[in-house]
């Protein structure tokens, strides 16, 4: 590590590890699509399937005639729990939360499973607004161990590699011994 380049690499690696923010996803599955007076609205939800816990709702607004993306409207999502009519959480969808400037995204932490309602309010620059409500089925959360399955199963890779390596080595050794005898 005498070379300053490698020192920089080390520092950069630490920085990346500590400060790295994962990309927000705008993908997932289309959970609602509709047409207002002059817009075509499409809402994506992630993860697929939706589960209790953090979720991502992304809105894509297009001109209903030309199908060109529209960026001058503001949108707010409110999520209403099952068996309730009052929104529990509300968040403004922003482009900063989205990976692509085509989308406006908002993140929520859904506390319980069941059939939630999502209220979408789209406001135009002149103050007029359009709202729509659609259901959102939220499945129970994955078992904690399952959500960490990748990390738990990680040793399988080096162990398998080592076992195969030893077998190959052992077979080669036995063959050479047989040949000698």
């Amino acid at each position: 590590m005498r070379n300053p380049v490698w020192q920089f690499v080390l520092v950069a690696s630490v920085w990346f590890t500590v400060d790295h923010h994962w990309l927000h996803a705008d993908g997932g599955r289309v959970c609602w699509s509709g047409i207002s007076s002059s817009y075509r609205l499409t809402v994506f939800a992630e993860p697929v399937p939706l589960r209790q816990g953090p979720i991502d709702l992304s809105l894509f607004v297009q001109d209903s005639q030309e199908l060109t993306p529209v960026s001058h409207v503001e949108a707010t999502f409110a999520i209403i729990p099952p068996d309730s009519t009052t929104p529990l959480l509300e968040a403004k969808a922003t482009r900063a939360n989205a990976t692509s400037p085509l989308f406006q995204a908002a993140q929520f932490k859904v506390p319980i499973t069941g059939r939630w309602q999502v209220k979408l309010v789209v406001t135009e620059p002149d103050g007029s607004f359009f709202s729509a409500t659609f259901p959102l089925e939220v499945a129970p959360p994955q078992a904690p161990a399952w959500s960490m399955a990748f990390w738990i199963a990680l040793p399988v890779v080096p162990i398998s590699w080592f076992v195969i390596r030893q077998l190959v080595h052992s077979i080669a050794l036995h063959r050479s011994q047989d040949a000698r005898s």
Partner: protein, 785 residues
């Protein structure tokens, strides 16, 4: 510009990890390329460097450009991404002949310690030769292409970010394998005649045409996802699919045609006479070009050096050779300075613990030792070695004590073992739980004071460092866990020691006192009992002792002497120490999770006559000593019986007890770093409180908030699991090496190893279970869940 195009061009992404990998790869290639150029390798000219950089840029473009976000909306964008990963980036990368520059461009340590052994590994060579076979390469390429484009798998990749990454990785890797056969980059040799490339490329082109034709001309939408997403640019899903097919057809055909032209030109220019490096891409066997000659000479030199001695060669990375750090470590004032700093910190902890408020999270004695010091201690062990003993403040008054007492007694023979330390460790873990030491600054302060008093008395009365070697529980913890540490204080060149008459490293000499722990460097093979005091480094007149990284010693796998320790696998006291510390790693963590706390409450409710301290004492003796000893002996008995070993049960158990050390270190690291990362802010809270007591700062809401436990960051659980993963791999490997010292795999070895592997996996599962339980956030203001 239209809004959609504006959105497209502003949809660049930045994935820090991918960028880091690409930049690092480019840097390594550039370094190797420059070195090869300096050595006169003419074949590595500018266009190869350009091809490599362009290949990496293409990968970056495919995964970070607007193509990526738009790939979920348009199939043609997704197909463009695949084309870049399969037909553009891999050939460009192989045209750069990257293998040699990447190897030479690696830092020396990585090249010699990781890359070279890996490339020499028989399995790696076998896999590489298998993948170089045209049939295998073509098969993989076709399977990856067709498999992932089956609607079910394609939909899966579109729905899940993880599978999407797996899809891209498999495309890229399969394409790398495929194009390597076509381009046959230097210095690889083709396994078949170059004429075989003609049918190879023909078959690849044919299957690509069939697939592209299906996409282009079908009137059925293959991937329903694209039928549900909003349409851009008024393109219908079927048109989008047709364009995607045409794109693949066109780009694939161009790539195959160019490859055919490349191969044809090669065959056309093929000359029967071998040429010098740079002139011919495939030198004939027996005709070494300058690079090969240099490499062969270097390998020969290394082999000769290895034959001379089994000790670390000068090629081993030595921390003491690092500029500034090495000078600092070797300085005679470094350790006393470090110890003084730690002494002052300990004094602060004692003062605050005894006279400060007894609010754990606001008292230095309540947070510093139990959250910060323990966390940093295990990090130090994992990344370096026994750095705490190096900075230990308890040994600072040793010289004063020796001066005051003026006695030089020998440590009693009957105490010259680890049994006393084992007993003290059990007492400590009992006291920790029974009196909730972590929740009592007052008790914590008295423990520190007691430590100073014990160290002062023992080292003042007895010769050497008896306290460190036979008494100190913290020292024993560090000695055992540092068996897995990367650094080791060891001799640089064994030949120098053979000619040394003075043995100053143990006896002491004009340059410094010898080892107080009675470790003789030429015989020392591990970190057991080594305090990293570096007295031997200073005493050695030949400057032949260093802090070496990854020394190939048998410290974990048994057999060798460890200086004055004797053969550890014959010492039941060492085995007991290893067992206690391994079981304590799990018991200590388990005792703070909700189900265990609830179980304790239930059992105590059933036994009201037993006090809590008595209950904890019984629990600790059972869980740290009796049950682990029983399990270890039972596993040893099974291992011995199954493998028909002639060793006794106790000897087998003693021999294999060290297997649990890596797993235990994984557990300790996961546990202590959990507290460090979740409650690091308590230092700010307690520090501000102390300063505010002396009117040097204001204790506000921010500091108070730091005293509370916050949300556990999402990366902490994976980090904990990875710690245990590494521990499990280490334990399984150590068990294998002990079962199979001669590297000759047999059924007897498997039978001897399997019981220990089962035990390791069971402990791993127990550790995972503990991680998933609600844990007490000890040392912070809020308890529970």
């Amino acid at each position: 510009m239209a809004a959609d195009w504006q959105a497209f061009w502003t949809s660049w992404q930045f994935d820090a990890w991918l960028t880091l990998v690409l930049v690092l790869t480019a840097g390594v290639y550039l370094r190797g390329w420059l070195r090869l150029r300096q050595r006169g390798a003419r074949r590595f000219d500018g266009w190869r460097l350009a091809a490599f950089i362009l290949g990496l840029t293409t990968v970056g473009m495919a995964l970070q450009s607007p193509v990526e976000p738009f790939s979920s909306l348009l199939l043609q964008m997704h197909m463009l991404q695949h084309v870049l990963l399969m037909f553009v980036a891999p050939p460009l990368l192989w045209l750069a002949d990257p293998e040699l520059p990447l190897l030479i461009g690696l830092p020396k340590f990585f090249r010699q310690r990781l890359a070279t052994p890996l490339l020499r590994d028989p399995l790696v060579r076998w896999v590489t030769s298998l993948l170089a076979h045209p049939v295998v390469a073509l098969g993989l390429f076709i399977i990856a292409g067709w498999g992932w484009h089956l609607p079910a798998f394609y939909q899966l990749a579109l729905a899940s970010e993880t599978w999407h990454r797996v899809e891209h990785a498999s495309f890229f890797l399969a394409a790398l394998v495929f194009w390597r056969v076509v381009i046959a980059p230097y210095p690889s040799r083709a396994t078949m005649s170059r004429w075989a490339m003609l049918p190879y490329l023909l078959v690849a082109g044919l299957q690509g045409t069939v697939f592209s034709g299906l996409l282009t001309f079908s009137d059925r939408l293959f991937y329903p996802h694209y039928g549900t997403v909003p349409r851009l640019w008024n393109i219908t899903p079927l048109d989008d699919q047709a364009i995607a097919g045409a794109l693949m057809w066109l780009c694939g055909s161009i790539a195959y045609l160019l490859a055919l032209a490349w191969v044809a030109t090669e065959l056309w220019n093929e000359s029967p006479q071998p040429q010098a490096a740079g002139g011919h891409p495939h030198p004939l066997p027996g005709t070494l070009d300058p690079i090969r000659q240099q490499t062969a000479a270097r390998i020969a030199r290394l082999r000769t050096r290895k034959k001379k001695t089994s000790q670390p060669s000068p090629e081993v990375w030595d921390l003491l050779n690092v500029r500034f750090v090495g000078t600092l470590l070797k300085s005679k004032t470094f350790r006393p300075t470090l110890q003084t700093v730690m002494f002052l910190l300990a004094a602060l902890i004692v003062i605050d613990g005894l006279w400060g408020p007894q609010a754990t999270s606001l008292n230095l004695a309540g947070v510093t030792p139990w959250i910060h010091w323990r966390g940093l201690l295990v990090i130090g062990l994992v990344v370096a070695g026994n750095v705490f003993c190096m900075a230990c403040p308890f040994t600072l008054p040793r010289a004063l004590a020796k001066h005051l007492f003026r006695t030089d007694w020998n440590w009693p023979n009957w105490l010259r073992s680890k049994w006393l330390a084992v007993a003290l460790l059990i007492v400590f873990f009992w006291a920790y739980e029974a009196f909730a030491l972590w929740d009592s600054p007052w008790w914590t302060a008295w423990i520190v004071v007691g430590y100073f008093a014990a160290s002062f008395a023992v080292d003042g009365l007895f010769r050497g460092a008896a306290f460190c070697k036979y008494v100190c529980p913290i020292g024993q913890f560090n000695f055992v866990q540092s068996l897995c540490s990367p650094l080791q204080v060891a001799v640089r060149d064994a030949n120098v020691c053979h000619t040394c008459d003075t043995k100053d490293c143990i006896r002491g000499g004009p340059q410094g006192s010898g080892c107080n722990m009675e470790l003789f460097q030429p015989q020392k093979t591990g970190n057991l009992d080594c305090t990293f005091c570096l007295d031997c480094v200073q005493a050695c007149p030949h400057e032949n002792v260093g802090m070496l990284a990854f020394v190939e010693s048998s410290q974990l796998t048994g057999g060798a002497l460890s200086s004055q320790n004797g053969r550890w696998y014959r010492r039941t006291d060492v085995a007991a120490l290893l067992t206690i510390l391994a079981s304590a790693a799990f018991v200590n963590a388990a005792w703070m999770v909700e189900p265990v706390v609830r179980l304790e409450e239930q059992v105590r409710a059933e036994l009201p006559s037993i006090s809590r301290s008595m209950f904890v004492a019984i629990g600790m003796i059972l869980s740290l000593a009796v049950i682990p000893a029983g399990i270890i002996l039972a596993v040893a008995a099974v291992s011995r019986w199954w493998s028909n070993s002639k060793r006794g049960v106790v000897e087998t158990a003693t021999r294999f007890a060290i297997v649990l050390v890596p797993l235990a270190l994984g557990m300790w690291t996961a546990h202590y770093t959990f507290h460090l990362f979740t409650s690091a802010g308590t230092l700010w809270a307690a520090g501000t409180r102390v300063l505010s007591d002396y009117h040097l700062a204001t204790f506000g809401d921010v500091a108070l908030a730091c005293a509370c436990c916050g949300d556990v960051a999402s990366w902490i659980l994976p980090l904990e699991i990875v710690c245990l993963d590494i521990g499990l791999c280490g334990s399984l490997y150590v068990a294998y090496r002990i079962a199979c010292p001669g590297h000759n795999l047999s059924w007897a070895v498997v039978k001897a190893w399997t019981p220990w592997a089962v035990l390791s996996v069971t402990l791993f599962a127990a550790g995972i279970w503990i991680f998933f339980q609600p844990m007490q956030m000890r040392g912070t203001m809020v308890l529970g869940g």
